[in-house]
Symmetry: C2
Subunit: 440 residues, 2 copies
């Protein structure tokens, strides 16, 4: 693969010793970016990079003077309370800072003594949404999810004729996107009770999660221009975990003809760390379209797709109920899947989004849509796992679920692993359902 | 009406004499807010108020020291390049500044000599989008439009069962919203040609406008809280004109199941001036629901709706083709309608949007959806006027249209007029279609 460079070398070790363990999500080869401060402090939020169990404070690194040139400028941009300015600097600046940090954090680096003072333990940190998200777009790239959900909403017509041609997407709500740890009250809205012709208003009874990846746009395009499928990767800063909470009963009643609205916009939760596309390079895998399916239209095709179009990011969903939490039980895994199953790639999402001249901006977030895999146990939502609420999910402690209950915490994790490459982890995104606030 | 105050007095006259003509959109009783600078200059954009043919520069007013108290603070907030901070101050501050400006601009005001230097002719100004729009939501409040469009997309099922219960809305794209004068290239995307089973990619052949009002949120709500239908008006800063350009062929192919995406997000154009809800108070009219239709659910109902729930804003669409433009022809009127026909009110839009705890923010924009009236000549889109492209629209100069052609300029205007009240105008929003940029 042509994308690999010295930062991917599996033999690299860091003087931050917690980065050298087999199980860490954040070895020296990862270096994901986020925005943090010491929890409970009144410090300014600023950019940081996760390394083992620590955060390298990029404002402090910049002030320390150990970096020079473009890397120093990039660290300066990361000193702000959002990463937008850094993202806007472009892929050469992202790479330059990543390389400089990789070198400065290696065992034996002369910068160690200066950078020791720039470390903050992750256990002492709190996070912010890492960029100002101007627009949030959610795609629908899992054909398994689209088919399963389609079957529930439209039994006779599960997969619509456009699905295999169009990377279906729609605009979501950016104001209600929060960072891991987000809590939200169960949404109240209109639903059409089964068998009724008259809607009622009340707390959603079919509250669900959606297992997604989020894609942060680094550099955008001007309105009227487009980003080609071959150029797209250079515009992508990196990926995070995304839980696109969904109220299925609200969605079923409201979604025609203009799409989901109140069913989705009450909350969406992302992980604090953005794993750069560069860090994920060792996990690029070929993307193919089944021979019986239509091949993508020319603006969605490039030769590179077949060798490295997809990313093998392993994803999993855990549930910690209130009862589990009270008993010190960290939760139970509900499903696992991989982004490699996606029907559309990130580069196709970007190319499609801009083919009409729509302008993307630094910090925009694209959701991949729920990542369900080919088998039922790889479903990325409770709607699928419970067959539309008909088959309760049995939890190891004897509880059951068809949809989320108050007090439930959903935890999503992601990682890339294979022999011969460093493990690249995403950390986790967690969020908790609070009881509805009644209408007065 | 309890909303009226001295600023609405029809007998008020201004020392800005162009504000005293019968045909001005911007008499002393209006005082809409926008963001401007001298065209072609490198001045900072800053807030201003339209008065007759002039703009009162609020940064200059603030610097002049003629205002005091809350009004002075508000003018200070308006000195920025967007009105978000002013909007966030709340309705008392908006009213205080409006009242102070009304008094300072009246014939005989002692402030005249100081404020003369704060005037800039509108003919010398250029405008910016007046607020940073965090999220843009588009509603669908005209039942006439929903029925007419529904008939074209779903002949057997034009009006869906949820329409009379749910103020249908969806999230739109904020990055591509521009101010009057916006030009955009005809969007290219996938369409399914009639009779074909295989999509093709090319410039939209069914490019359309949509006649809407935009509603600027002044003060928002925190995530998890809601804004009641009775409290909603106090959160609304004001209204502008909105052209929500739409590519109908793209929309038809992509919109299921998640709603419009590339059909809408290439451009939306708003007028530079935001007419405050306070200025529109004399044009509140009663809102009723036909006896045969379901009455709105309790969270969408208030006693005030019946006496003053709607606004009688008269709207019209003009078309100036390239040929007209070359011949000095200002264009021809295609249709006219009124916002009073809307099936859902602004307060219902706000209450519905937040009933699930979704947070609105200062500067958010809500579109009303296309405002078609009850008769065919009141249609707010070309799709409707041309019966889905089947009946060409005859223009006075011999040209015809079914959809927009390259070089076409669409101009929308809005105004409130009745005996015993001052005319409150919106000015205009204009936008021009440029030829598509071919895919390379």
């Amino acid at each position: 693969m042509t994308h690999l460079n010295e930062t991917h070398d599996v033999s690299l070790r860091s003087w931050v010793t917690s980065a050298n363990t087999a199980e860490t999500d954040f070895p020296l080869q990862n270096l994901p970016f986020g925005v943090f401060r010491r929890a409970g402090s009144h410090e300014n939020f600023r950019g940081g990079v996760a390394i083992g169990e620590m955060i390298l404070d990029l404002a402090a690194v910049h002030a320390s003077g150990v970096l020079s040139g473009v890397a120093a400028q990039a660290a300066g941009a990361c000193s702000a309370s959002s990463l937008n300015a850094f993202m806007a600097m472009g892929s050469e600046a992202w790479s330059a800072l990543r390389l400089a940090l990789s070198r400065a954090l290696r065992t034996g680096a002369t910068a160690e003594s200066a950078l020791q003072a720039c470390l903050v333990p992750q256990a002492q940190a709190e996070y912010a949404v890492p960029a100002h998200i101007g627009d949030y777009t959610d795609f629908y790239t899992s054909i398994y999810h689209a088919t399963a959900v389609g079957r529930l909403f439209r039994p006779d017509n599960p997969l619509l004729p456009n699905y295999k041609w169009v990377p279906i997407g729609y605009h979501g709500r950016s104001s209600s996107i929060g960072v891991s740890g987000q809590e939200f009250v169960r949404p109240i809205s209109q639903v059409l009770p089964p068998g009724s012709e008259r809607p009622s208003v009340g707390p959603s009874k079919r509250l669900d999660y959606e297992l997604e990846l989020g894609v942060f746009i680094g550099t955008g395009n001007t309105r009227g221009s487009r980003i080609s499928v071959t150029a797209a990767d250079a515009h992508v800063f990196g990926l995070c975990l995304l839980n696109d909470w969904s109220a299925r009963d609200v969605q079923a009643w409201e979604y025609q003809p203009l799409g989901p609205f109140l069913a989705k916009n009450f909350a969406s939760t992302i992980s604090p760390w953005i794993v750069t596309l560069e860090a994920l390079a060792p996990y690029r895998v070929g993307w193919t379209r089944a021979a019986e399916d239509p091949q993508p239209l020319p603006y969605l095709t490039s030769a590179a797709l077949q060798t490295e179009g997809a990313l093998d990011v392993q994803l999993e969903v855990w549930l910690q109920t209130a009862k589990m939490n009270a008993q010190g039980d960290a939760g139970t895994r509900l499903s696992q899947s991989s982004f490699k199953h996606a029907y559309w790639t990130i580069s196709q999402m970007v190319a499609h989004h801009t083919v009409n001249g729509c302008n993307l901006q630094s910090g925009d977030l694209l959701g991949t849509g729920t990542q369900s895999g080919p088998t039922p146990s790889e479903a990325g939502s409770m709607l699928e796992l419970s067959a539309g609420g008909k088959q309760p999910i049995q939890l190891p402690n004897g509880e059951t679920r068809t949809f989320l209950e108050d007090g439930d915490t959903v935890i999503m994790r992601g990682r890339c692993e294979r022999a011969g490459a460093a493990r690249i982890g995403f950390g986790e995104v967690r969020g908790t359902v609070l009881p509805a606030e009644q209408l007065v």
